[in-house]
Symmetry: C2
Subunit: 202 residues, 2 copies
């Protein structure tokens, strides 16, 4: 049979992973990120993932209950790293410099991990229900609300729109770098920060 590893004799709840299982799982996640990034969400098949990992399709499904579960795990993996990096940068900055820190941390991280970037954008545009677009800019909008000193946006709507503008600009800068690796994203980040802080100077 090829059912799941059950739970190693004990009938309790906690799933304790073996050493090899942990290794395979993380390898499969890595391979999935690579493949989704390189060939797109639709062309990242189980067969392709399996081949790249040196095992068969069935072996992949032995470790993950479905392709969707594998892709979800891979997505959570890259997203967690991004969030950790950005949160650390924000916490290290002064409150009024938080939006600037956000912009530079986002662009910096994505520049250094192009595959992660491709995976995230791929998951956002093609992932079934990975995370809902209505909440996408909420964290940034909240951040702008907290940084009242430097970025004086009055209404909630204006704050929301500014978050959307900044977020969209970051997306586009990152996409540009994926298309042209020579594009200077650090300079672009500076220019975006200037633009945001130049607004409402009074």
């Amino acid at each position: 049979m090829a059912t799941r590893p059950s739970k190693s004799s004990k009938s309790s709840e906690a799933r304790e992973l073996t050493l090899t299982e942990r290794a395979r799982r993380s390898q499969l996640i890595e391979v999935t990120v690579e493949l989704v990034a390189d060939r797109g969400y639709a062309d990242a098949s189980l067969a392709g993932i399996a081949e790249r990992a040196g095992i068969t399709k069935a072996a992949v499904l032995y470790h993950f209950e479905s392709k969707a579960a594998l892709v979800r795990a891979a997505h959570e993996h890259v997203l967690a790293q991004l969030v950790a990096h950005v949160v650390a940068a924000i916490e290290a900055a002064d409150a009024d410099q938080a939006p600037a820190a956000y912009i530079r941390a986002m662009i910096g991280h994505l520049r250094e991990h192009p595959r992660h970037t491709r995976m995230i954008t791929e998951a956002m545009t093609n992932g079934e229900g990975v995370y809902d677009p209505a909440e996408r800019w909420r964290p940034l909008a909240d951040l702008l609300g907290a940084a009242t000193r430097a970025v004086e946006t009055k209404t909630d709507l204006e704050r929301r729109t500014l978050a959307i503008i900044i977020g969209g600009a970051i997306d586009a800068i990152v996409s540009e770098q994926l298309a042209d690796p020579d594009y200077d994203t650090a300079a672009a980040a500076d220019q975006l920060v200037d633009l945001v802080y130049a607004d409402r100077p009074a």
Copy 2:
């Protein structure tokens, strides 16, 4: 047989389309736009298009030589309308107001044609080789170059980056409206215009 309609006895080059053929083609293009917009590029199958049009798969391929050709035609259809609208708006504006006209025209058109919008973004992210991302912001960058009075961006790189920022912001504003139809894109367009024109006031 079900080959192409050849060219109606005459062996010359010009393909003259029948009345019914013209009608079917435009119907199929409309249906394709609908389906791609509603269910995404990957889930818009020939069978689905055919069913929605009330004919069979084979009949669709009788009018278009492949699914790719049909999608290409649909894409060109929606893109042509967008370009016509934006160009008209720019030509009607003063030179230094051209970027503002661009922003408002883009956002306005996309607001009024949400299906076209979805189709275009879908084609950009999932379309095989519809149009290359390296050239995407070129027209806007050129426009900024021409409007030297209001938007004083010095170097080519800064102009390029500003175009990317504006373009990305427009994308995000439009996406937000697709997720929340109550979102006030006209106000967002005004805010984006203000931000762009507030830059480098000296």
